[in-house]
């Protein structure tokens, strides 16, 4: 099915001036056009996508005399990364990852979500809680608050052992693996359950969590004993431990109600609980590409532009007309008009002209950090983790 589709587009062919990146690629590879199209592109039809398969075997095209194998050198030559956007206020980064397989991109995404370690509240010791929120619910809410602390400065807990079942072993908890936070809030407002003037009245927010660099104030109960105060470390002087956001609502108190607790953070990964996940989310999409299969000029070109009238503000029409001839604009089309292009490519009048494709090895990757670490650091850590997994396996195999 994909075969017919691919060959149709290419045989009818556009003149050299309207050559797409794909056509230029064809000249390089030794594969017939329709196979090269299937190898590198997903075709987005108006009803369904075709040629969505990934051809990742060295022998896929051996009957055509085409070697589809890839060495590390070839990978490095084909690899390209371009940063699109870094938004420090939003802790978001968007970049293009070109020339990798879906499983590689997916491995990075999976590691970002579940295997990059962070610090999060794990144990909560209640001294007093007369609020309407039960202890366990409050403890859970606290756990989800992102804590800005460099996880590399802390040690992980020992992994669960056979003897202890699935429970973590209780290590000695001290300044190397624990952050102690204290929360003390009391509502002294005269309007029980009523008006809140300012933040003192009733609203307990994440900024009320105070860092105790000297460790637990109730070591007998918590079993956490610091031998050295954490703020003697130079790293903490530069960046004291605090919640990433100051204005996360933890609880609402009525007059006379009180919360007093000590919260202990430990190092963990998102695999165990999402509270340790360093990203709000991390995702990728394939880079879209719009092509004109035949020359569109004169009135028809104007007609094509008219199809894209009324796009939201700031969204560019995916086509432009130069010298009376329509051509796709440079770069991938805006997300907001992709469905319009897709619908157009299914219309009787336009289906031989307009085609929407996706480039199979071009990923537009977005990393949305929770604010614990900047997204670029998260990505580098994720790559390191994948490398160490691979390196560890190689070392074990070399031994065996």
């Amino acid at each position: 099915m994909g075969k017919r589709k691919g060959s149709k587009g290419e045989k009818d062919g556009a003149p050299p001036s309207a050559m797409s990146q794909l056509d230029r690629d064809f000249a390089v590879s030794g594969l017939p056009d329709y196979l090269e199209a299937q190898r590198t592109r997903v075709f987005c039809g108006s009803e369904s996508n075709t040629s969505a398969k990934y051809f990742g075997s060295a022998h896929t095209y051996s009957t055509k005399g085409f070697d589809n194998s890839q060495t590390w050198k070839e990978f490095e030559r084909g690899l390209d990364i371009r940063i699109r956007r870094v938004d420090e206020a939003d802790n978001t980064m968007e970049f293009d990852l070109v020339g990798v397989s879906p499983s590689f991109a997916n491995a990075l995404r999976r590691i970002l979500i579940s295997e990059v370690p962070t610090m999060a509240i794990e144990h909560v010791f209640f001294l007093n809680n007369t609020s309407t929120i039960p202890d366990e619910i409050l403890a859970h809410r606290l756990g989800l608050i992102p804590i800005a602390a460099d996880p590399t400065l802390f040690k992980s807990r020992s992994p669960p052992s056979q003897e202890s079942g699935n429970e973590h072993q209780e290590d000695d908890r001290d300044q190397r693996n624990t952050i102690v936070l204290r929360l003390q809030a009391r509502c002294s407002g005269r309007n029980p359950g009523g008006k809140h003037e300012g933040n003192e009245y009733g609203k307990v927010k994440s900024k009320d969590l105070k860092w105790l660099p000297g460790g637990s104030e109730i070591p007998e109960e918590t079993g956490v004993r610091f031998t050295v105060s954490q703020d003697t470390l130079e790293e903490f002087e530069r960046a004291p431990v605090r919640p990433v956001h100051d204005d996360i609502l933890i609880a609402k108190l009525s007059s006379g109600q009180e919360i007093e607790l000590e919260a202990h953070c430990t190092k963990g990964t998102g695999a165990e609980h999402a509270k340790w996940s360093p990203v709000a989310t991390a995702w990728y999409r394939l880079c879209p590409e719009v092509v004109l299969l035949r020359e569109v000029k004169g009135e028809k070109a104007e007609e094509l532009l008219a199809k894209f009238e009324g796009l939201p503000k700031g969204v560019e029409c995916p086509f432009e007309v130069v010298g009376g001839v329509a051509r796709p604009r440079e770069g991938p089309p805006d997300l907001m008009c992709l469905e319009r292009i897709r619908a157009l490519s299914g219309e009787e009048e336009w289906k031989d002209y307009v085609q929407l494709r996706k480039i199979k090895d071009h990923f537009i990757f977005t990393v949305e950090s929770s604010g614990v670490l900047p997204p670029q650091d998260l990505l580098c850590t994720a790559i390191d983790i994948l490398a160490s997994k691979a390196g560890g396996l190689a070392a074990k195999l070399a031994e065996a």
């Binding site: 990742g56 022998h59 194998s69 940063i83 790559i383 997994k389 691979a390 390196g391 074990k396 195999l397």
Partner: protein, 99 residues
């Protein structure tokens, strides 16, 4: 981490302890792009056990063990070049933003 479960001709099934799709899919992918590998695939026999069975068949030029070893090394090198490139591109991006 690794135990060989079955060996016949040039086919070996490896058992990777404490791994999941992250390594399974990435390794299979690198293995498949190698010209000496005839077949590579993985399965996770039970979703609640962190175990991956990796089956590799080679054409006899190299042993399956060496093929996986090479693939793991390749994957590690791929990570290094990705990180290096990302670092330099990120720096460039920071410089252009300042201008």
């Amino acid at each position: 981490m690794v135990t060989s479960a079955e060996e016949a001709d040039n086919t070996v099934t490896f058992l990777l302890q404490d791994e999941d799709h992250t390594m399974g899919a990435s390794l299979v992918d690198v293995l498949n792009r190698s010209s000496n590998v005839v077949f590579a695939g993985y399965t996770i026999p039970h979703p609640s056990e962190r175990k991956v069975q990796l089956c590799v068949q080679t054409n006899g030029e190299v042993s399956p063990k060496d093929a996986v070893l090479a693939a793991a090394e390749t994957l590690a090198k791929m990570c290094d070049s990705t990180k290096k490139l990302f670092r330099s591109r990120f720096e460039e991006f920071g410089n252009t933003m300042q201008e």
